[in-house]
Symmetry: C2
Subunit: 327 residues, 2 copies
């Protein structure tokens, strides 16, 4: 298939946003930003063998996740996603239908958020597949949820369940620690099809001074980033961190997965303690599971402490670092 033909096939038939004057098909896309809103931009790259395994994931899974992780970054700012651009480096032997399947799945996910594909390119490679997605979103002016927003006394919270994505990855890689097919499917889905917490992020943006990160590199890493950016310390408690009810029985690594596994794409943040109750109720009424896991404390240093039983353990910002370890 030639690239021009591919562009024709992947170009959206209809657009969700009237602000677009030119989408795919010219040198660049042109659109009109809205007044009273700020724009948010992020980009994330996924490499076969590092961020996904094409031997274990369908093209649809890969496309889904490449877009989802970027939407998650927009959610972590309290914004909503509007436009996306996709660049794929395709290994020569790859079938066209695989690339189309990736785009199709991205189109489906984009529809859930009324997002429009406005550009990108497809190039060949003799190496592994590399997919880069750029997402442009919006947030109401002055409402972005920044890492620097945490203050002593704030409640530390997370959404959803943690560690399940890492459990899914472990299963994918052949560690069959359970024969319960329902559980296997649950954990694998958490790894392959993470749901970005856009609704939760939007709720956060309506409160003053919420600090927010999405959990891509692991809870320890995300909370350390907030601690550093806000120059505060954080205490969290093992028994408050939400996990799947079976997780701790299934594998001795469960705690490692919860703290350092990453890729859960839940949100971790802090909010003023006097707003916590109202916030938790609003989340709950919108179907967003949210849990208090600790608090921000005064300190001369930016540190994160993990309380497990009687122990208070310093949580290092290790997380998943592409320069230090390869999957």
């Amino acid at each position: 298939m030639d690239e021009f033909e591919l562009i024709r096939r992947i170009a959206p038939r209809s657009l969700s946003h009237r602000e677009i004057e030119i989408g795919i098909g010219d040198d660049a896309a042109v659109y009109n930003p809205k007044k009273g809103y700020q724009e948010i931009v992020c980009v994330d790259t996924m490499v076969d063998g590092v961020h996904f395994l094409s031997s274990h994931s369908t093209p649809a899974d890969i496309g889904y996740k490449a877009l989802a992780v970027n939407i998650s970054d927009i959610a972590a700012m309290g914004g909503y996603p509007k436009f996306y651009l996709v660049s794929i480096a395709v290994p020569s032997g790859r079938r066209e239908s695989d690339i189309e399947a990736m785009y199709e799945e991205m189109t489906k996910l984009a529809k859930l958020y009324q997002m429009d594909l406005i550009g990108g390119d497809t190039v060949s490679t003799r190496g592994q597949m590399v997919i880069t997605v750029t997402v442009i979103g919006e947030v109401e002016k002055g409402r972005a949820c920044l890492r620097s927003h945490a203050r002593p006394g704030d409640v530390v919270f997370v959404t959803g369940e943690l560690g399940s994505s890492a459990a899914g990855l472990s299963l994918l890689l052949g560690d069959r620690f359970t024969n319960d097919e329902g559980l296997v499917q649950h954990f694998m889905k958490r790894h392959k099809r993470p749901e970005p917490r856009v609704k939760a992020g939007l709720i956060c943006s309506r409160y003053q001074r919420v600090a927010l990160n999405d959990i891509s590199d692991g809870l320890a890493s995300e909370l350390n980033e907030i601690a550093e950016a806000s120059r505060v310390s954080i205490d969290i408690y093992q028994d408050s961190i939400p996990t799947h009810s079976e997780l701790h029985k299934l594998h001795s690594d469960w705690e490692e997965w919860v703290l350092f596994g990453g890729e859960d794409f839940e949100l971790a943040g802090t909010i003023s303690s006097d707003q916590w109750e109202r916030f938790a109720q609003e989340c709950s009424s919108c179907g967003v599971p949210v849990y208090k896991i600790g608090q921000v404390v005064q300190s001369g240093e930016a540190k994160v402490f993990y309380h497990s039983g009687q122990d208070r353990i310093l949580l290092e910002k290790k997380g998943y670092n592409h320069f230090k370890q390869d999957r």
Copy 2:
């Protein structure tokens, strides 16, 4: 080096644009778009062995070109570039200093246009290096130079000299068709360090209805895109196309390079014939070399014809297509 440390090193020390609220260092960048302007976004990916040869180019060359080709896309819309995001998939064996050299050279180029780095990521790969750059620019509202703007009677023009980038690539690949070191350096520079025609694009945006493309895939391909988008035909003339004065003496492939070589990153476009003289004068007074190479003609079809002596040859949209050929 760890990724967090790299972010600290590459994060710009100062920003050119005050509209930025958050640049690098949170989940995404946040900024305030300007009133009365439209935004332009583009993304381009370069793969080692396909779009560049790391054996023949320095990291600085690679970084330069990855950013330059995206700035060129913004120029081809008549806009000016403002922000950029960089994603690099780095082969495990690569030295940190190489990656820093790439970023340094991008920083230098960005400074020429007062552009700010606002995001990106660096991931490891076991394959080839892949670098993806996203550029966000602006154009005065309603002034974007679209491919669909050509009308019968318009003048067809190009900037700069064509075919020299392909000549440089040929030299790089070992075809030493000249021993004149000055020429060798000239052609190689045209290939490795193309200068995006931002000034020319801005001039174009001040005229009504200029159709514009940057020459990335070759003149034939770019003019065919304009012909198709505008539903017109185009006649161009061999002896009007600007080339280096020595080119035709040096290699039998010179005409192929001019028409299909691509990567010159000059601009090709059309403008109303009654505005041509004023436009050419304005370009000339700004130091932008611009040449009339033909005209838009009425036709039921969208075709491009190349006049060489007495011959009128149909120019196909072949250009450089990553799915059909590998360099």
